[in-house]
């Protein structure tokens, strides 16, 4: 099918979808990281931020968009990866690829990110919504769920913090290839701008990885 309705059934259409959802997820990561900074600065502010995120109607709508974005990215990834495996069924006895390991293993790093995501949502999203969360006071003296203490408790476990560090390093490799790859997929390539896009992608990957691993590492060490 080569009409616009069938666009996303073509190889290139699926690549556009991969790229758009991937970049959308990047924007989510950035906002998530900025939101978490209050973990370091102010426990009360962090608890209020968490309450805001789980109650504000606009954020709730964005949450649905985010879930759809994740699902589209994951389903598209599975379809593309399956087709790619079928396209090269026999492996070489001797194969020397010149490309980077992480550019060839987006499916693997993505799957580990997904596994991490399930663990992460189970402990913090499900745990916050339906779990047994202790109460504390907000800045006006009203009762509020103590997410801050919950995060600290989670990161005091070495295995739990270790999983975070490993998953975030793999996320970094996913982003290092994925960010610039998304521009190429959409046909945005230019002698002048592409080298800059690659640098921004790497910087983004490094900042996201270091940013997100700083929480488990800091809270694990300070609670030793």
């Amino acid at each position: 099918m080569s009409n616009s309705a069938g666009l996303f059934s073509s190889s290139l259409g699926r690549k556009y979808l991969m790229a758009i959802t991937g970049l959308f997820l990047c924007s989510f990561l950035l906002i998530h990281l900025i939101g978490n900074v209050s973990l370091f600065t102010d426990p009360v502010q962090f608890n209020e931020y968490t309450r805001f995120m789980s109650s504000n109607p606009l954020i709730r709508i964005m949450e649905i968009v985010l879930v759809v974005g994740f699902l589209a990215h994951i389903i598209d990834a599975i379809m593309l990866t399956k087709a790619n495996k079928a396209a090269q069924p026999v492996k070489y006895a001797m194969d020397k690829k010149k490309s980077t390991w992480y550019s060839r293993n987006m499916g693997l790093t993505g799957t580990i990110i997904l596994a991490f995501l399930i663990l992460h949502l189970q402990s913090f999203w499900y745990g916050y919504k339906f779990g047994d969360v202790a109460m504390t006071l907000d800045s006006s003296g009203a009762a509020i769920k103590d997410m801050y203490t919950m995060v600290l408790a989670a990161f005091s476990q070495s295995w739990y913090s270790a999983i975070y560090v490993v998953a975030m390093v793999l996320l970094g490799t996913h982003l290092n290839h994925g960010f610039q790859s998304a521009f190429q997929s959409m046909g945005l390539r230019h002698k002048k701008y592409t080298p800059a896009i690659k640098k921004v992608g790497t910087a983004f990957a490094v900042i996201m990885t270091l940013g997100f691993i700083s929480f488990p590492i800091y809270f694990y060490i300070t609670q030793l």
Partner: protein
């Protein structure tokens, strides 16, 4: 000067139905000045004399322009050197005592016919749905130079046109994606005024055909660009991606 001693590990497969296997051959006294294909010619002479079946491999021009000499040599299409085909590879690129793996292109869309020979009809099928310009050539063709073309476009089109359809890009791609080849064919024509007329249809039809034939999807690893004997650039894939997006949005089909 004493020649080199080599161990070859060659994929032997007696027809499409055969399972195939790697067979080891010892070669002695190989001159470094020999071309890689001459080295196989020598081996085949030996095999014929012993009454064995010679190794089937594709070759024609032996000067890097026909694109038929497909072989995956020691883990790389066309062997270890950059920007050349197998027929342009010489034994001086190897050392005495080396073990050399020789395998056919591996891709679902390029089935093995025999030994190192694969069926690349799929590339022809992609060309047939758009790798041309429909102009009347019945004696009243316009002088090509009458149409002004920006130098940069002419150069880019010419670079894309150097693709020889060898299939190394598909062979090295972990997804057996034909996007470098298809994009070279698309941009080579889309960049020129004569080809612009049908650019939209061409992009749609060639990509559709490429998908239908079972080539994989590009994940932008970049292996194809590194291994292409003609240095076809990833710029072409980006151009194809733009062309196809515009074409699918505008198309009324």
């Amino acid at each position: 000067m004493a020649g080199m001693n080599l161990t070859l590990k060659v994929w032997r497969q007696n027809g499409a139905e055969d399972k195939g296997r790697i067979v080891e051959y010892k070669m002695s006294d190989i001159s470094p000045d020999m071309s890689f294909l001459e080295m196989i010619d020598v081996l085949n002479e030996e095999l014929i004399q012993k009454g064995d079946d010679p190794i089937a491999f594709d070759h024609d021009c032996r000067e890097g322009i026909c694109g038929s000499c497909s072989m995956y040599i020691n883990g790389e299409p066309h062997g270890p050197e950059d920007l050349i085909t197998t027929c342009q590879l010489h034994m001086r690129s190897f050392k005495d005592g080396d073990t050399i793996y020789i395998e056919p292109w591996r891709a679902a869309a390029f089935p093995v016919i025999k030994d190192l020979v694969v069926d690349r009809t799929a590339f022809d099928a992609i060309i047939q749905v758009g790798g041309y310009v429909s102009v009347n050539t019945s004696g009243n063709t316009q002088d090509a130079n009458a149409l002004p073309i920006p130098k940069a476009d002419a150069d880019a089109a010419f670079d894309a046109a150097t693709c020889i359809g060898c299939g190394a890009c598909v062979a090295t791609c972990k997804n057996s994606s034909a996007m470098l080849f298809t994009s070279a064919k698309i941009s080579h024509l889309a960049l020129l005024p004569q080809g612009k007329v049908e650019a939209q249809e061409r992009a749609l039809n060639m990509v559709e055909k490429m998908d239908e034939l079972g080539f994989g999807n590009c994940t932008n690893t970049g292996d194809c660009e590194v291994q292409c004997p003609k240095g076809i650039s990833l710029d072409n894939i980006a151009l194809m991606n733009r062309e196809f997006l515009g074409a699918s949005l505008k198309s009324e089909k």
